[in-house]
């Protein structure tokens, strides 16, 4: 941090000379950080990172990238008050740690995957293949463990001395703060509340995440890549999992903690949290689109008649799509390899996960509110 200050003040000096350039940059970032632009961008970055994983994981490429990212990340603390106030909030410090540790370990894993994949192509042994005998746990393992414990203790104590645990005013059941936020590790789910009702975002989706994770070893029948780092041998598994973890879990947490302000409105990293900003809600349901916009009439009274377009879509998405997918070569091969129950368990979990980005895109493109809207029985999807 301290060593970054000169760089920031340099930027600051440059900013004084040309304050509008800095403001323009901030404005640019603010505008691009809204989910409809930044989420697709993060997806593109993630997929590009996996396509070119052998290139950027070379230390000579990765470390300058990481350094650049670190500098930019921290340089704006002295340059922008709202950014600083977000990053310095004690309960937000773990998010910064999560961002950096996740990037670092993603690199560490993919770097070894890249080396292993290359080694396999030229017939050299894997990093993990031992040519030596086993080593004794004393001293080789216990000393590493001791060192890790000491380091961890030191980090924890320094962190605790530097940063006071937050304590706000006493609980007041009559005065909710705005915004009211769940603990940070659940903010990905709270962010999903923008797109889904609580029964989906808070119950069904987390339940399926747990179920899907637990079912994973029984679904993934690919015998390769067991006990060593590789990407080439498990492309689909790794891409799917990482999409869920990095984009739908971690990035949404960053949104929820850093970029959601009063009334859960979205604010760019350099935007002041204005509690009076009102974002117009013009969202419409699929049934509105069908009956009102397209047919120019009004909504029928009968629940099932009214909601048939959404019900049909949902039926198609959950029940027909997994079958249709088998017509695509890749999923067809999976279906043949995995057998009936494994394939359909995987495919249904997969399409439900994909329902999340699909609904997001619906929201961004035509203000989709609900696919199925049955507020009469609290059933809105």
């Amino acid at each position: 941090m301290i060593s970054l200050l000169p760089i920031s003040s340099l930027l600051l000096a440059a900013g004084e000379v040309n304050i509008t350039a800095l403001d323009k940059f901030k404005d640019f970032v603010n505008r691009w950080s809204v989910p409809q632009y930044s989420l697709p961008l993060f997806c593109i970055i993630m997929f590009a990172a996996f396509i070119w994983y052998r290139k950027w994981t070379k230390p000579i490429v990765f470390w300058p990238l990481m350094l650049g990212f670190t500098v930019v990340y921290f340089a704006f603390i002295p340059l922008d008050e709202s950014y600083a106030s977000i990053l310095k909030k004690p309960d937000n410090v773990p998010i910064t740690m999560m961002i950096f540790l996740t990037l670092y370990f993603l690199w560490l894993g993919l770097r070894q995957a890249a080396i292993n994949d290359e080694n396999m192509e030229i017939g050299k042994p894997l990093i993990e293949e031992d040519r030596e005998d086993k080593v004794l746990c004393w001293p080789d393992l216990v000393y590493t463990e001791l060192l890790a414990m000491v380091l961890c203790t030191v980090v924890l104590i320094v962190w605790s001395v530097l940063l006071k645990a937050p304590l706000e005013s006493p609980a007041n059941p009559a005065g909710p703060p705005n915004p009211s936020k769940a603990p940070w590790y659940f903010l990905g789910l709270q962010e999903l509340l923008v797109y889904f009702d609580p029964w989906m975002a808070g119950v069904v989706l987390p339940g399926l995440i747990i179920l899907g994770l637990a079912a994973m070893p029984y679904i993934d029948t690919n015998p390769k890549g067991n006990g060593y780092y590789t990407f080439k041998e498990r492309r689909f598994a790794i891409l799917t999992w990482m999409f869920g973890y990095l984009i739908l879990w971690c990035v949404l947490i960053v949104f929820g903690t850093f970029l959601r302000g009063p009334n859960w409105n979205f604010f760019g990293p350099f935007q002041v949290w204005d509690p009076y900003r009102v974002d117009p809600l013009t969202n419409i349901n699929i049934s509105d689109v069908w009956y009102v916009v397209l047919l120019g009439g009004k909504l029928p009274d009968n629940l099932l008649v009214r909601e048939w377009p959404g019900l049909l879509f949902t039926f198609f998405w959950l029940c027909v799509l997994p079958v249709l997918m088998t017509k695509i070569g890749f999923f067809g091969r999976l279906r043949a390899q995995m057998g009936f129950s494994r394939y359909y368990l995987m495919a249904v979990l997969f399409v439900i996960m994909m329902l999340v980005p699909v609904k997001m895109v619906g929201r961004w493109t035509f203000n989709l509110k609900y696919i199925i809207a049955m507020p009469e029985i609290n059933f809105n999807l």
Partner: protein, 260 residues
């Protein structure tokens, strides 16, 4: 001189009653060091070299375990000063900061909890990337998934205890989700359809999922006690038990994974 003192300590009856082997310098005594110690014998005597490389395991499982222990110890210390009652909870937290020498126990406990969440996620990511959930370790992955949930629930239940604005409103957000449980929460889809003949509802505001979580209709006295008991007793016991199973299974599944 110093060597002499050390030697006489090592030869004393007390020392040799505790450590039944010599200094771990050769193969035999090193094996003994692991085998004759109840904690160290969680480890096998010998391991594959690549299995303990830091860049393979990232030490994240180990750190998660260490943080769990650090949380247990600092948590016990906090329990000496904290009363889970609405009248006292908040002022006890203030008192901890104001009156205790080196009052960073609350900080250690809070930041340790955050760190444990991050480390357990990274551990899961490592196990995923090395494909270590594949046979024969499927079940241990499932145990791990339950541990993941327990770790987050531990943190979540602890979040309420300071009884400040941050605490009750975060838990309120959580309880809104419980209220929306399909067929079990008052605001959940389908709950109203569950009726006995004569239109008597099966799920009422006093028996739905949110009530189960909070022991009341909103975050109050009963919720504080519930979360306290879950946080200090029920979930830690469950997690400790499952961690034992997790470690035992690592050994039974053939140690840290590696290429066949």
């Amino acid at each position: 001189m110093i060597q002499g003192v050390i030697n006489s300590i090592r030869e004393s009856q007390v020392w040799s009653s505790i450590f039944r082997h010599g200094i771990p310098r050769d193969r035999r005594t090193r094996v003994m060091a692991i085998m004759s110690n109840v904690f160290l014998h969680l480890h096998p005597v010998a391991v594959r070299k690549s299995g303990i490389r830091l860049s393979f395991t990232w030490c994240m499982g180990g750190l998660t375990f260490f943080l769990f222990i650090a949380e247990t110890i600092s948590g016990v210390l906090l329990m000496f000063y904290y009363r889970p009652v609405v009248e006292y909870a908040y002022s006890d937290i203030i008192g901890m900061r104001a009156h205790l020498t080196l009052g960073i126990m609350r900080e250690i406990h809070r930041w340790g909890a955050h760190a444990m969440i991050i480390s357990v996620w990274l551990h899961m990511m490592r196990v995923f990337l090395t494909g270590s959930y594949k046979p024969p370790r499927e079940f241990n992955w499932v145990v791990g998934v339950i541990l993941l949930v327990l770790t987050m629930l531990l943190s979540f239940t602890g979040y309420l205890l300071p009884w400040d604005q941050l605490a009750i409103w975060a838990i309120t957000v959580g309880s809104k989700m419980a209220e929306a449980t399909p067929f079990a929460g008052m605001a959940g889809p389908g709950t109203e359809l569950l009726q006995l003949p004569g239109g008597i509802p099966i799920v009422t505001p006093y028996s739905d999922a949110k009530f189960l979580l909070l022991g009341g209709e909103s975050v109050g006295e009963a919720a504080l006690l519930r979360f306290y008991v879950l946080h200090c007793i029920a979930i830690p016991l469950g997690a400790a038990t499952l961690i034992a199973v997790h470690f035992w299974r690592i050994r039974k599944d053939g140690g840290i994974s590696g290429p066949m």
